[in-house]
Subunit: 329 residues, 2 copies
């Protein structure tokens, strides 16, 4: 199994990415890692000799976080991200992962690697935080803004397979993000998607309201990219404002500072539990090869964990399973 890693994307690239790749290579002697990026820069950031199962694939360019995604992918043909995508496309690699520009990575998936035949739209599928710390898969979280009922159904199928194949879950509970729990609730798209999901053979448990997502009411939450983004950023905004205000209140006077000293160790855990970045890589499902987005601030540890996640997905035949299921009839 070969996994391509974009060595140049992310806040701490190439240093942390390279370190994570080496750690992963040592952990998994049975996989080959292709470190894609500027050879000189990668070598300058080596803290130790490359293990035998890591090789460097030179790419002269880098897609920056502020680059316009489609343009960057079209023009920077020799960028680390595009070259890694081409390795997957040409079956030189089974998977790729990147901490770089999210939009560019989705474009690389779509334009360089390509869709699974039968899939209308790929979907970005991160694990969202849940209070119990286990996380809940949600898709689409930003690959496409609009989704038809049929596309929502495809998201559900892909999410269900991912939970089964990569996370070992049996009959994952699928739900639809909606404004109420009753069947007739929602906009035109969710109402029609509800009907399709009911007849899909998936373990569809109905609608879920956005206020309950932290309680992990389901294993796969299906939504269009627009409302998924509104939900995610609302949670982000609320948590940031509340934690900020609590922090300010802790600084009011000597007594509140005492209270802070007592409480901060207990509240740190909560903040971490609610942090969406603590939950590993997000697969771009529906692409004909595994493309894994990891957070921009990923360190070596995060890269190492993502390699493990990619390995599980490839061994679990994720892409083959999705392809078979989508083209079943």
């Amino acid at each position: 199994m070969r996994i391509a890693i974009d060595a140049m994307g992310g806040d701490y690239a190439p240093k942390e990415i390279v370190a994570g790749a080496i750690a992963a290579a040592k952990e998994h002697g049975d996989i080959q890692i292709l470190l894609v990026g500027h050879e000189e820069q990668i070598k300058a950031n080596l803290a130790e000799a490359l293990p035998g199962n890591v090789s460097i694939v030179h790419a002269a360019e880098v897609i920056e976080s502020e680059d316009e995604p489609v343009r960057a992918v079209r023009r920077k043909k020799d960028s680390s991200m595009v070259v890694a995508g081409r390795l997957v496309k040409d079956k030189q690699a089974d998977a790729m992962l990147s901490a770089g520009n999210t939009g560019a990575l989705m474009t690389t998936g779509l334009l360089i690697v390509g869709r699974i035949p039968g899939i209308e739209r790929p979907a970005l599928a991160p694990l969202l935080p849940s209070l119990d710390g286990t996380g809940m898969l949600a898709l689409d979280l930003g690959a496409n803004m609009d989704a038809t009922p049929e596309q929502l159904l495809q998201y559900a199928v892909m999410g269900s397979i991912y939970r089964e194949r990569v996370q070992g879950m049996k009959a994952p509970r699928i739900a639809l993000l909606n404004v109420g729990t009753e069947e007739m609730k929602g906009n035109e798209a969710t109402k029609a998607a509800y009907e399709l999901l009911k007849g899909s053979g998936l373990n569809f448990i109905g609608n879920v309201e956005s206020k309950h997502v932290l309680e992990r009411p389901c294993d796969v939450l299906v939504c269009d990219g627009f409302s998924g983004n509104i939900m995610l950023k609302s949670y982000e905004g609320a948590a940031s404002v509340i934690f900020n205000e609590v922090k300010k209140a802790f600084k009011l006077n000597i007594l509140t500072k005492l209270a802070a000293a007592i409480m901060l160790p207990h509240l740190k855990g909560l903040k971490k539990t609610l942090d969406p970045n603590e939950f590993g890589g997000a697969p771009l499902l529906g692409i004909n090869g595994l493309v894994l987005k990891i957070h921009g601030s990923s360190d070596a540890r995060a890269v190492q964990a993502a390699v493990k996640q990619a390995k599980t997905a490839v061994s679990g035949k994720l892409i083959e399973s999705i392809t078979a299921e989508i083209n079943k009839e």
Copy 2:
């Protein structure tokens, strides 16, 4: 000026509604209040004699909170809510307010009172909490799930006029709820609405992301009822989970209990600031007469405040201004 009050809707009806109506009648000697509901029950809940500017309009039925809205409005023709709506329709009242079933009140607005000619869809327009305590008008928050770009533009026009006429704001800043601030962001509906808003003559300041709403980035936030609901309930869910977990952490041991004693007075204010129910009545804009939804848990004080809000809207010629603006060309 005559204001009809649904005496039977809400958690504390009729007692608190009646008390609020009487207090409002005393505060505003220049208005007439029509207390609509079961005469005997209203009389049984009178703590004092009715002031001269309050009269009871008998209605034998009540729409309950668990009633299916459209059915209830169609069948319970003699319910306090429907009778109040008919008073507005027949120009026997200039405004109505109710703490009852929200769906039924929207239906009453639509089917009994009727739309302003030229308005495609009415919109529910509550003030959302903001950190500075002043609130931000958002619409639509639930009257319609889907909205076309043209309907979003109408929401913007109505919200702008409401802010000017009822809240004395000059050139209210209008923004579109979206997934990013750049012009080309969003789904098909928001992208097209952006263009319409840009050319509208309104003080349109662009897109706003859901994570910033508590900072009051604009005075009128325009969204479809579906994504507005997703946003609102996400904030609700995040706040409820975080406050709950903090409360649990305060109960861990004797030291954290001490910290709680110090901090709770400071955190109470924050919780109140973020509570959407603290922000008065939500008008159902686009209806041909003022229909004001007040929270189900409204007490006398909330009813009294809502009467003042209704009075300001009627004196400010809200409905006439919307009608003129929508039918301008």
